[in-house]
């Protein structure tokens, strides 16, 4: 009984960890990027300051904003947090991952996106509509590739339960070819989902190219803060997913102090590693034209599907 309580508490702590370190990680990304571009960059804690400022500001709503516009930030934030709460970070056997498996997690993210797009449409400006249209389109195109790449692992693990999948990945002797395909595909998708270069530039407000930012142009104050925070959490979520599913080394399989601490360190290390990769990529690559995105996503899908075939043909055996 007490064990269960401890596990659940750990679970909660993990969620809190993810939620509250999210701005920090965004800060690190920005800092690293600035350094690579020979700028000093703002402090890694700057995102926290931004959020605090926004939370304390007055909200300015457009005249014709409806209740959807006002409720969207809450739903987006909640859905994202709920999604992140089922991803094993430190503990392999996360109790909350029973609540929703990887498909449900994707659906929660879709819920967030749906409301974000609705919020974009709510005021009736050109930008909002444009952002909503593009965001929904590209994420729809990304959906099959993402599910397909996750499915490669769940087929191997015989489960869509994230804990079980991580456990399976943890016990893999070597990197399977199918998983390699899936990894590349998933990486490509993650870039799209988080609106990073070369798909979207999170720090631009250039009309012709922006996607995500276009939808939230009308937001201000605590609403904007929630949305920004949610997208930071989402970044962490994806990075963690990559690390947990494809590089699950060092995660704690039992509830004890030592493994947990080591798992924490491992997690942070892996995340920083992935961030560095991300930053290098963002610095080296230029944003691609918006109608090349589908080709990019198709490539991802084909890779994931190849992974699936490889799994069936090479690894399952008949």
């Amino acid at each position: 009984m007490t064990d269960a309580v401890i596990v659940w508490l750990l679970n909660l702590a993990q969620v809190a960890l993810m939620v509250f370190t999210a701005p920090l990680i965004t800060g690190i990304v920005r800092k690293l990027k600035a350094r690579l571009q020979n700028r000093r960059g703002s402090s890694v804690l700057q995102p926290y300051r931004d959020l605090m400022k926004l939370f304390s500001k007055e909200v300015l709503l457009a005249e014709n904003a409806s209740w959807i516009f006002r409720s969207a930030p809450y739903i987006i934030f909640t859905a994202t947090v709920l999604a992140v709460s089922v991803v094993p970070v430190i503990l392999v056997n996360l109790p909350s991952s029973l609540i929703a498996d990887v498909i449900a997690m994707a659906a929660l993210l879709a819920l967030a996106r749906f409301w974000l797009a609705l919020a974009g449409m709510d005021i009736g400006t050109g930008f909002g509509g444009m952002g909503a249209s593009r965001e929904m389109t590209f994420s729809a195109m990304a959906e099959p590739a993402m599910l397909m790449s996750v499915f490669v692992i769940s087929l191997g693990a015989h489960s869509t339960n994230l804990s079980t999948m991580v456990e399976y990945a943890l016990h893999l002797q070597h990197l399977l070819p199918s998983v390699a395909f899936a990894l590349i595909a998933f990486l490509m998708v993650a870039v799209v989902e988080n609106g990073r270069i070369p798909i979207d530039n999170p720090s631009t407000h250039l009309e012709v190219t922006m996607i995500h930012e276009a939808m939230i142009l009308e937001y201000s104050g605590r609403h904007l803060a929630l949305i920004e925070w949610a997208s930071q959490i989402k970044l962490v979520l994806f990075i963690t997913l990559i690390s947990s599913l494809f590089f699950p080394w060092g995660m704690a399989e039992s509830v004890a102090i030592l493994p947990i601490i080591s798992a924490l360190t491992f997690w942070f290390g892996k995340i920083v590693f992935i961030i560095i990769l991300l930053v290098i990529m963002e610095t080296l690559l230029a944003k691609i034209r918006i109608f090349e995105v589908p080709d990019y996503l198709l490539t991802a899908y084909v890779l994931a599907f190849l992974g699936m075939l490889v799994h069936y043909i090479l690894e399952v055996g008949v």
């Binding site: 609540i99 659906a107 959906e143 008949v318």
Partner: protein, 679 residues
């Protein structure tokens, strides 16, 4: 005859009475309107209850024999688990639509002064659908089936003043008739094998594999046509928009399901699992995937709200068929448990789609009622004038997009699960096809979300794009209640799948002789674990609970010390006059996809630029883009043209004068004589 059966028969009787009563009440129009609507609702309530009881007491099947029909074949009606499930589905939508009609038909009364047409055919349509579901012999099935087709034809051609409506009606009836003939063919094959028309005999008949395949193909095409499977769907996007909205809610919500029912009845029940060939499931799966994808892609390009919904019905039928196809494959390969899961997924989606598509069509009807238009480009901002309708429509949109915590998500989740449980198979083609279908399902689901963001965003959000939209008004209470009921069902089915799944578990029990309860220890109502908790689990109640808690928490935190809210004008990038016309349009919204999938759409674009005195001075630019249905243009039009050429030739033969006619006779007798002598 047990209680459930009597309820079901009573439901049919009420429909019949309503249809007969309607012409008698013609003088008291408003009384007639209320009577008809409420009788339909009552019939729905009876069907709903009959279905529920039939499902719960799955042991007690009941048969009754009506003293009409052929001399040696009176009509057999029968309530087994399968029909109970579909009765439930029927009732679940009939009830709200009946209530909704009470308000909706007011407009028809005001416009035409009479609702005779609707009053007769709406209940008849209901009767037809209920009859099909209950039929226990081929003759009764066909009679009710065609009754359903033809009465719905009259509903489609209700506003027959307009040429396009008549065309739609014609195309619909044509396809329905073709479908009917194909189904008749399927029954004829089964009859030839069994020697009688009752389902009991057909069920136990020995089929050769050739005959089974023949019957299956006929049934697949016949029911596929009615269900709107791509590329047999072309009637659907034309017919649904022009019918009155309560009728299109029924047509899209449950008539397509009746086709699914028929397909299940013939393939699973009458032909039977033992006679399946491996590729049947693959065919259904492929058809389902293509419908799901093409349906949603076409839906995305529509600017007519009801047309959009119609195409989306094609998509959802595709999803249902993906589940059915998976079930067929697994059952044939000897994995009954997974097959049962797939079947449950598809059944679940069946009732879900009935609910949310009914809701959406009713919502579209409310919008049509309020603005007088189906054109989305003329709407906008209705959320301020129709708050209840818009909220309910949003529920429908979220359900159909497969978002938690609504029901669409659960059934898509189940479908994914069954695809992922694919065991190792010898057939590599199937091994590749199943994940491919799963990814198509993912794509279709995501595109559906795009589609319904567009639908909701353009219609209800933003600012009014026309006078009509500005003066829209909320609908009356009948209609509101009509829409609230399915919305509540949507939520309940989304949050408590664990309560509903055991109820429909009897269907795979009957058809596959395997059920989920055999393998799953249903721990409690909280957890949905299709096979075991290790493989996958979902707790929708906990998810909802978590969301509610979190929202409450944040709200409390932020509002405890938050600053106030002030309103200001829309930020316009410094441009002073932001007119409603500058909003993103429906056409614009779907432009990226049009471009990406231009190979599928083949859009026809026309740009007309008028210049001033100098080519650099542009007076105005007109841009017109049309996306036509590719199947219609590439398959149906050529067939029509060929037929036309043949008919012209035949007609020419009839204008050649007496000598030619005499020669025909002369040659015929000579040829016949020669044949007789030589043969």
């Amino acid at each position: 005859m047990n209680f459930a059966m009597s309820l079901a028969v009573a439901a049919m009787a009420i429909s019949l009475i309503a249809s007969i009563l309607s012409p008698l009440l013609g003088r008291y129009v408003h009384f007639q309107r209320l009577t008809i609507s409420l009788l339909v609702a009552l019939s729905g309530a009876f069907a709903l209850t009959a279905g529920l009881i039939g499902l719960m007491a799955s042991e007690s099947e009941a048969t009754i024999i009506l003293p009409i029909g052929l001399p040696w074949l009176p009509m057999h009606l029968h309530l087994d688990v399968l029909s109970a499930f579909f009765m439930l589905t029927l009732g679940a939508l009939l009830l709200p639509v009946g209530i909704y009609s009470a308000g909706y038909m007011k407009e028809a009364v005001e416009k035409n002064g009479s609702i005779q047409h609707l009053g007769i055919f709406l209940p008849l349509f209901t009767l037809g659908m209920q009859g099909v579901v209950l039929a226990n012999d081929a003759y009764a099935f066909m009679v009710f089936w065609e009754l359903m087709s033809i009465s719905s034809y009259f509903l489609v051609s209700y506003e027959h003043d307009r040429e396009e409506n008549r065309r739609a009606g014609f195309l619909y009836l044509l396809m329905a008739h073709l479908a009917g003939l194909l189904i008749l063919g399927a029954f004829a094959v089964l009859y030839a094998a069994g020697g009688a028309f009752t389902f009991d005999v057909m069920r136990s008949a020995d089929l050769s594999s050739g005959m089974a395949t023949f019957a299956f193909l006929l049934a697949a095409f016949g029911f596929g046509m009615k269900a709107g499977v791509v590329p047999l769907h072309v009637w659907l996007p034309d017919a649904h928009p022009v019918a009155p909205s309560n009728a299109s809610a029924l047509m899209s919500g449950i008539m397509l399901k009746v086709a699914i029912f028929g397909f299940m009845r013939i393939t699973w029940d009458l032909i039977g699992l033992n006679n399946f060939s491996w590729w049947w499931g693959a065919l259904v799966l492929a058809a389902g995937s293509s419908s799901a994808l093409v349906g949603v892609l076409m839906a995305l390009q529509q600017n007519d709200l009801k047309r959009l919904l119609a195409y989306s019905s094609s998509e959802n039928v595709g999803i249902i068929l993906i589940g059915l196809g998976l079930a067929m494959i697994f059952a044939n390969l000897g994995h009954p448990v997974i097959a049962a899961l797939a079947m449950i997924a598809s059944l679940y989606h069946t009732i879900n789609h009935a609910l949310f598509k009914g809701l959406l069509f009713m919502g579209a009807g409310a919008v049509l009622h309020a603005t007088g238009s189906r054109n989305m480009e003329k709407m906008g901002g209705l959320i301020h004038r129709m708050p209840i309708t818009s909220a309910l429509f949003l529920v429908g949109c979220m359900s159909i997009s497969g978002l938690p915590p609504f029901n669409g998500f659960v059934s898509e989740w189940l479908t994914f699960q069954s695809a992922l449980l694919t065991p190792p198979m010898e057939n590599t083609m199937l091994s590749a096809l199943i994940p491919f279908s799963a990814s198509m399902l993912a794509l279709a689901g995501a595109l559906a979300a795009v589609c319904f963001v567009k639908a909701f965003g353009i219609v209800f959000q933003g600012r009014a794009r026309s006078e009509m939209a500005e003066q829209a008004h909320e609908v009356d209470n009948w209609m509101k209640v009509g829409m609230v009921i399915p919305a509540i069902f949507c939520l309940l089915l989304g949050v408590f799948p664990t309560l509903f799944i055991p109820l429909i578990d009897g269907v795979p029990q009957m058809l596959i002789h395997s059920s989920l309860s055999a393998s799953v220890h249903v721990t409690n109502w909280l957890w949905l674990t299709p096979v075991n908790a290790e493989r996958a689990s979902l707790s929708a109640p906990l998810m909802v609970l978590g969301m509610l808690l979190l929202i409450a928490l944040i709200y409390w935190r932020l509002h405890g010390r938050g600053k106030g809210i002030s309103r200001g004008p829309i930020w316009s990038c410094g441009y002073p006059h932001l007119s409603a016309q500058m909003q993103y349009t429906a056409t614009g919204f779907s432009q990226p996809l049009r471009r990406i999938f231009s190979g599928v759409y083949r859009p026809e674009e026309r740009k007309v630029i008028r210049y001033g005195f100098h080519p650099l001075i542009v007076k105005d630019i007109r841009y017109k883009v049309t996306v036509a249905d590719l199947a219609y243009n590439k398959i149906y039009i050529p067939i029509a043209n060929i037929t036309r050429a043949i008919t012209a030739r035949v007609a020419y033969e009839h204008e050649r004068g007496m000598h030619a006619y005499l020669t025909y006779i002369f040659v015929t007798i000579l040829a016949l004589l020669l044949w007789v002598v030589m043969a």
